[in-house]
Structures are given as C-alpha cells and as structure tokens.
C-alpha cells in the first residue's frame, strides 16, 4: 500500500453527477411502478418509463466514464483492489437476498405445512381449522389455492438448463484463461458462447413457465409451491438476464480491444457474477426441482 511517487496515492473522482441523476431516475421508476400497481395505470406507466429512460441514460453515462477511466489506466492496483472487495461484497449481499427466499422455501416445507397438518404443538390447528389436511410436497395448502396442479420434475427443461449453465461456467472460465494468456480470439469466441448459453437458458426458462401455466396448471397462485417455485426461479432468471446483458457488454468491450492480461477487473467481476448465478441455480435445481 505504498503511495505512488509524485502522484496521488489513490484516485478520487470528483463531482459525480451521475449518482444523483440515476437516483432521480430510480425514484421515478419505483414511484411509477407503485402507482401502476396501486391502480393509476396510465400516469404510473408514464412515470415508470420516464424513470427507466433516465436510469438507462445515466447507467450508460456512468459506465462510459468508468470504462474511459479504466482504459486510460487511471486505476492502479489499489483502486483495482477496492473494486474487487466491492464486487465480492455485492455478490455476498445478493447471496443473502436469495437466502431469504430459500429460507422461506425451507421454512414453509419443513415447518409450516407440518404445522398446518397438526405436527408439533399444532394439534388443534389441524383439528379446528384444517381438518384432514396432510402435509406433502408439492402443496398448495389446505385451501387448495389455484386448483390442482402438477409439480416440477428434475428432468426435461430443468436438466437441460442445468447443463446449459454448467457449460457456460466452463466457457467463461476458458475465456478468462484466454484473456490472462493473451489469446484474444479465444476470449471473443468463448465469451460469445457464454452469452448465448445464458440467453438460451432464459428462453427455455420462459418456455418452462408457459408450460407450467398451460399444461401443469401451476401458477403463481398455486399455493406455497407455485409461490416459491416462480418467485425463486423468477428472481434467478432476472439475475441471469442481467448477467447475460453484462456479458454482452463485456464482449463488445473485448471486440473493441479493451482489457489486457493484467487489467481486466470488469471482465472478472462479470465472470464472478456469472458463477454466482450458477451456484444459485445449483441450489434451485436441488431444492426446487429435485427434492
């Protein structure tokens, strides 16, 4: 952590307008969404869209600035290290976000359903409120919400999606290896491949949802099973989409000649993120589809 001779020890950017502007956009986006949800469709949608536009403009502007700073080698080892810690803890916070939903799944399956069917100190819950209810999985609860449905199976689309994400983890690692060893063509090809694998995953996930709604009778309203299935896989799918877009951006940057053997934090951050969505999927496949 020595100070750089003759220069500042650490790069401190000055007067960033983007963070304030993006907050205005974000505020409008959420405010519009809330209006939309609360029955003010038209004006809500307008505010939402305006907010989204502001956000996109700001994101592009902010990232262009950062990419420019990065490519002009403003960032050195110390800055790079800050970014790495930042990304590590950002991903950690994302893990905790998913943790809440996995926790809800486990709690509902292991405690709520047995309680509703009279387990532990809940004998009278079953006797008085839900007579005859037997805990099982999948379940849409003693109220049989959403009607009969079929649960998900670990075969078919889910197995294919697992394979897709696993292969994409390999391809992104090969691309990283290529970047570190100066094989830029390998980076270009394997990064593109990773993006397409991710993209295919999202498409087949959408296909699976349609299948669930139309053939299996499984909807968001199908009690706790439908709830946890769609919300968990939905948030995961959102993260895959974001990751795929980020991969695309990185790919464009690689095509433009950004990054070198030592200086490629942006690439690595997205690679970490991609591994994170992979690991989350592993949990999903295990606990949502399989067990």
């Amino acid at each position: 952590m020595s100070s750089h001779t003759g220069a500042q020890r650490y790069f401190i950017p000055h007067n960033s307008p983007w963070s304030f502007a993006i907050t205005v956009g974000f505020f409008a986006l959420l405010f519009g969404t809330a209006m939309l949800l609360s029955g003010m469709e038209k004006s809500g949608l307008a505010i939402l869209c305006a907010g989204a536009v502001v956000m996109i403009v700001c994101m592009v502007g902010w990232w262009r600035l950062v990419i420019h700073e990065s490519e002009s080698r403003t960032y050195r080892a110390l800055e790079d290290s800050s970014f790495r810690w930042g990304m590590v803890f950002f991903i950690f916070s994302e893990v905790c976000f998913f943790g809440a939903f996995f926790g809800a799944l486990f709690y509902s399956r292991l405690f709520v359903l047995p309680f509703l069917s009279g387990a532990s100190n809940n004998l009278f819950t079953e006797v008085l409120l839900w007579p005859g209810f037997v805990a099982q999985w999948p379940s849409n609860g003693p109220g049989n919400l959403g009607g009969t449905f079929e649960g998900m199976t670990p075969g078919g689309i889910a197995a294919m999606n697992t394979a897709l994400l696993f292969i994409s983890a390999v391809t992104v690692t090969i691309a990283h290896w290529g970047l570190k060893n100066g094989h830029r063509n390998i980076v270009k090809v394997f990064l593109a491949l990773t993006f397409f694998l991710g993209f295919t995953f999202v498409v087949s996930q959408a296909h699976e949802y349609i299948h669930a709604y139309q053939q299996l009778g499984l909807t968001l309203g199908s009690g706790i099973y439908g709830t946890t299935f769609f919300v968990l896989t939905g948030f995961h799918g959102t993260h895959v989409t974001i990751g795929a877009i980020a991969l695309l951006v990185i790919w464009v940057r690689v095509m433009r000649g950004h990054f070198d053997e030592h200086h490629h934090f942006g690439f690595e951050a997205i690679a970490w993120y991609w591994h994170f969505v992979d690991v989350v999927w592993l949990g999903l496949y295990l606990f949502v589809y399989w067990l």
Binding site: M1, Q8, P17, S38, S82, S108, S139, G141, P142, G143
Partner: protein
Amino acid sequence: MSTEATTVHGHGPAPGIMRWITTTNHKDIGTLYLTFSFIMLFVGGAMAMVIRSELAQPGLQIVNPDFFNQMMTLHGLVMIFGVLMPALVGFANWLVPMQVGAPDMALPRLNNWSFWLLVAGMSMLLSTLLMPGGAMEMGWTMYAPQSLQTPFSFAFSIFSIHLMGISSILGSINIIATILNLRAPGMKLLKMPLFCWSWFVTAFLLIVIMPVLAGGVTMLLFDRFFGTSFFDAAGGGSPVLFQHVFWFFGHPEVYVMILPAFGIISEIIPTFSRKPIFGYTAMVYALACISFISFAVWAHHMFTSGMPTAANLFFMYASMLIAVPTGIKIFNWIATMWRGSLTFETPMLFATGFIVTFTIGGFTGVMMALVPADFQYHNSYFIVAHFHYVLAGGTLMALFGGIYYWLPKWTGHMYLERLGKTHFWLTIISLNVLFFPQHFLGLAGMPRRVPDYALQFTDFNLISSIGAFVFGASQLLFLYNVVRTVHRGKQATDRVWEGAHGLEWTVPSPAPYHTFQEAPDVK
C-alpha cells in the same frame, strides 16, 4: 507524520449547491448524512410529540386512531432509517478514512449514490403520509397480513424500504472496502481504533440483513399484488414466516444501531480518562461475538407466536448469551475510567450517561430473554421502555456525545460548553422521566401501539408525556449549539482534547478537505 492539507490536484469543493449534489468527498458526504439525520431527528421527534400528546390523557383528543398508527409507524421508520443509521453512517464517513489514514472512502462515487438513495427512500416513505388513506398503520415491523391491508400507499412504502436498503448495502460495501483496502501502512487490523472496528462489524451485519429485509418486503409485495401465498395459511404459507424473515433482519439491525455507538463511546471514554482503553482485544472480540450471536436470536421477538418449546428454549439461551459480551464491554469501559484522571466535558457526560441508561436497557433485555416472563412483557410498554433505553438512552446519547467530541475537529470551532452540559442534564433527566414510568405501564398491562388506554394508566402516561415534551424541547438547545458552532466559536486546537489519540487528531482543525493523500506513518 504527514498531515498535508494541500490540494495536489487543485480539487477543492465545487462551488454552490452542486458541491453538495455531486460531491464524492467523504467529509462532504459525512456532513450530508449528519445534516439529513439531524433534520429527520426533528421530523421523527415531531411525530413522537404527536404520539405523546395523544397519550397524555385517556380518550381521543388530538388525532384519530388511524393517524395515530401512521405516526407511530413513521416515527419508528424515520428514527431507525432516517436518524440513527444515517447519523452513524455520517460518523463513519467522516471518521473511518481519517482514523485509518485513508485519503477518502474506497468508492467515492458509490458513496454519493448511497446518500442520495437514502434521501429518495425517505422522501418516498414520507410522501405516503399525503396519499389517500395515509401511510402504513402497522408499526415499523410491517407484520403480514395486517400490512397487506394498507390502502393506496402500500407499494410506495415497500419500495421506500427497498431504496433505503440498497443505500445501506452500498454504504456498507464502501466502509468494508475502505477498511480492508485503504488503511495506511502499519495500521494493522488490530491497531484500528474501536470506532472503525465497530463499523467494520456493523457493515458485515448490514450486508447480510438488508437483502433479507428486501426479500421479506418483496414477499409482501407479491402476496398483495401477484396472488402468491407466502403469508396465507390457506395456501400453505404462514404469517409467522414474515416474522421470521423480518426479525432475521430486525434483530441484527438493532446491533447495527448500537455497535457503532459502542465504538463512539470507546473513543470518548479513554480520551477523558486520559488512559488507554481497557482490554482492546477483548473489546474487538466482544464486538465480533455480539454480531455473530445476533444472527441466532431473532425469534426472541416471537416468543408468543406459538413456536414449539424447543425453539423457544434455543432462542432464549442464545439471547441470554449476548449479555456476556455486552457485559464485557460495559465492564471494560468502567475499567478504562478506573483510576484514570477523569474530567467531564460534555462528550464525557454523554458517554457516562450512555453507560447508565444503556445498562438499564440491557437489564430489561436480559429479563425479556426469559420466555415465560416475556409472555407478560411482550408488546407491552415494558418493551417500549426497554428499546427506548437502548436506542434513545444508548445510541442517541452516544451520537450526542460523538457530535460534541468531534465537532471541533470538523468545524474548527469549540461548541458552547455550558450549553452542552445543560443539554446533557436536561436530556438525561427528561429521558428517564419519559421512559422509566413506561416500565410500570407495561408491567401493569398497557399494550403498545395504542392511541387510547384505560383510566388506570393515566398517571404514568402523563408523566411520560411531560418527560417527552422536555426531552423534545432540550434538543433545540443542541440544534442551536451545533448550528452556532458550525459558523463561529472559539478556535479549536488540532488535538482539541488533551487526552485524544488517533490519526484524526493529527490533522488541523477544521480538517482539510483532503487528508492523507500521502499515507501517514503509523507507529
């Protein structure tokens, strides 16, 4: 030791309002956080005055029950997310870089973003008050399914929590990155001032719990608008699930608000005892221990929710265990003062007052950890007294002490000592008048979150309300003292307090816009 105040690259603050909107300087952002929190203190305080006015007498005099509930809800949310947390983040922004010898926070643009996200979140939350049907009526705990009954403002309230949560997460990432990456050479982790340690631990807590809260309120949003059944027993869900998710966030959140306060106290007491802190290593381990156990105690907020006995026992034992490291901290503070050469300037008064009032909260906390006793205490005014002793008698006192302690460093001016002392005595007396009788009310059976009560509770409620008005009014003295000190006052020396140690006391007062652009030597 290099204490250069130069502007190597000629970057002073930008002129005008844009300085504050676009600033990436940790001191500016610290000031923004503290100012914001100060404004919110009076907003949340005004709500408390509405609450205590209505409760001064039985019957309905001032507000209707629905509006009372909204005041009660917003008072909680504003005080937690708008006052205590931002004030502590403000302290972190000002002090962490200066105490570890860093030139600024590790991610300055992100730092600015964290602040504005907080403002956006709090604005959205307060805007719900003006909406048809008003704000949430549920208390800050937002228990399902009652919170799902919130009229128009429901989604806005949820999104405001999201905004404030993102703000906290980003701010915490920044603090961790600064501490891990930008310490001056020689500033080993176990040499860091305890305030930095307290925030280091707190930032970890925040990064774990804030996403969980975001997840919990998102579940509420889905249950309300998209037909899911997280909290609906008919669909196989359970309202108790929300309590689990919320308190998994909510209990560590309590430590988020008290640990940095511990850090502030651990800075003030050695200075005015003219002695090094007693048991530094034990203090660090106690912090780590508290935060670790805090993840295993959440359901002590739910002892009455009909959990199986085994679960109740586990959470009872874990909750009681937290008293051990907390006790270590209190004993170590007293040991730090022991055989010192004590003087009682305003910061030290507040630090001593903190030990007194916080410990009362600690005692009632241990009592409430006992499940059967909690069957009686739960949700009564006893618990209202308990957590106000911890948060107002603890965190707020530490914040006042911290402001008086570092204000000369920040502004270059000494505050008015006599006024500060008056503020302290008025605060601690009125605080006890305000909250102590609430113990009696709770034990006698007065529930919390009521706008109206049976006649037998009148006397203590009236005393409590009188205490509240004095408490509220005393803070105006503080406001005056701070605002005056920002503008003028006796010039402060660099070290300010003769017993003060630490890197922040080696730079001039007021601290220059940029500090430690070259790393200081740490012995």
